[in-house]
Amino acid sequence: MQVTMTVNGDEVAREIEPRLLLVHFIREELGLTGTHWGCDTSNCGTCVVWMDDEPVKSCTVLAAMAHGHRIRTVEDLERAGGLDPVQQGFMDEHGLQCGFCTPGMMMTARWLLDRDPDPDEATIREAISGQICRCTGYENIVRAVRWAAEHPATSEVHA
């Protein structure tokens, strides 16, 4: 079947099998490998992308279901060569070691900060509670999101 969707602002069209999962469409059809493919069971959250402005686990959405919708992946966080504050926060606060969970963590963090620009630690932990990191133990991830909350100025390019 033919699907058409907007990915990071660009319209893309592909011929796919209806059973193709969105995460594989993004990685294999579009070559956007920033989105990671982890547990396959909607538990780990490394595959989180935005669908129509909300984070979703792309291992549990069919590409066919995204037909006609807007998808935003981690590649779209950076704007005009500048890092999103969330990305900068992950760098400055050492929010990653292996980096496998990072794209999903950052997409959820960006969504949280857009809705709640000054979240406390409990709110951040709740927001990422469906995402698993096996390296840092979450402390630095929470600090990274707090860093982004405290340095919002550079995110003005965000629509």
Partner: protein
């Protein structure tokens, strides 16, 4: 790599269109809403529909939480997050927010739907126990019309509901009562997991007398997700610790938990009693207008 088996895909444009597609494709067609129950089942080949009928475009028709007459109505396509954030839901039944806060995780709640959850009818499903607690009714449509079924008649067993192969759940209707409080208590092994055991309670008070009560149980094999014996003890009684104890004993006897990776049966039976006690205390405090 987990991938669903080959499947055809159709997209419904309206409720009537969804029903027409179900009739055209027969009993091996399945509606898909959020997909967070069905797609994992398809990956494991526990479900293997020939055709998926995507009803996400029906959100405009079927995603709402509103008052209609004497009922709080929750549309089948309401996402978990929408119910969690609905002020009118929390105003009437705090149990809805208690439960939604512990259903899956925030990202899954963006996608999963109320209708999808209760139609999946997993024995551990939280909203099934919540709606059983509240004495809700389900509104189901087919090409021959709309019918309304009580929750006891909706839940036919594990993964089985009254919704027929060419039918669609439209909404859940919860009768609005005054002088009531409700609460949901869940024990889970980790954030976002299925319940080890969960219990919902509804307490309606007239002074120092319980006029009506509901006790719902998830993950312990309670028939229709409910404990009629506990409810019977509560009705007409004084809302005291002694009453709650008696109801807790009844609820823990009124179920059939199985030992599995979430715990041994006797532990689950113990939890069913203890969570009944806690849920009743909290529901009673709320019925009295006290925070809890």
């Amino acid at each position: 790599m987990q991938t669903p088996a080959p499947v055809e895909y159709e997209r419904a444009a309206s409720v009537d269109d969804a029903i027409a597609l179900l009739e055209r494709h027969g009993p091996e067609a399945r509606l898909i809403a959020g997909g967070h129950s069905l797609l994992p089942m398809m990956k494991l080949r526990l479900a293997r529909p020939d055709v998926l009928i995507d009803i996400n475009d029906l959100a405009e028709e079927l995603a709402y939480v509103r008052i209609d007459g004497d009922d709080l109505c929750i549309g089948a396509m309401t996402r978990h997050r929408e119910l969690l954030e609905s002020p009118v839901a929390g105003e009437h039944y705090r149990i809805l927010h208690d439960a939604e806060r512990v259903i899956a995780d925030p990202v899954v709640r963006n996608r999963g739907t109320v209708g999808g959850s209760i139609c999946q009818a997993d024995p551990s499903e939280d909203l099934s126990a919540v709606f059983a607690t509240l004495g809700a009714r389900a509104v189901i449509r087919s090409s021959s019309g709309t019918r309304v079924v009580a929750m006891d008649d909706f839940h036919l067993g594990a993964y089985t509901t009254a919704v027929g192969p060419a039918e669609i759940l439209l909404e859940v209707r919860v009768p609005i009562r005054t002088g009531c409080g409700s609460a949901y208590e869940k024990v889970e092994r980790r954030a976002g997991d299925w319940a080890v055991v969960a219990v919902g309670a509804l307490v309606c008070l007239d002074g120092d007398r319980i006029t009506d009560a509901g006790v719902g149980l998830a993950a312990v094999g309670a028939e229709h997700f409910r404990s009629p014996a506990a409810e019977e003890i509560l009705r007409g009684a004084e809302p005291s610790e002694a009453t709650f104890d008696a109801a807790a004993v009844a609820a823990s006897a009124d179920c059939d938990p199985q030992s599995d990776q979430r715990g041994p049966a006797d532990y689950k039976r113990h939890l069913a009693g203890e969570l009944t006690r806690r849920a009743l205390r909290r529901a009673t405090a709320r019925a009295r207008g006290q925070e809890g």
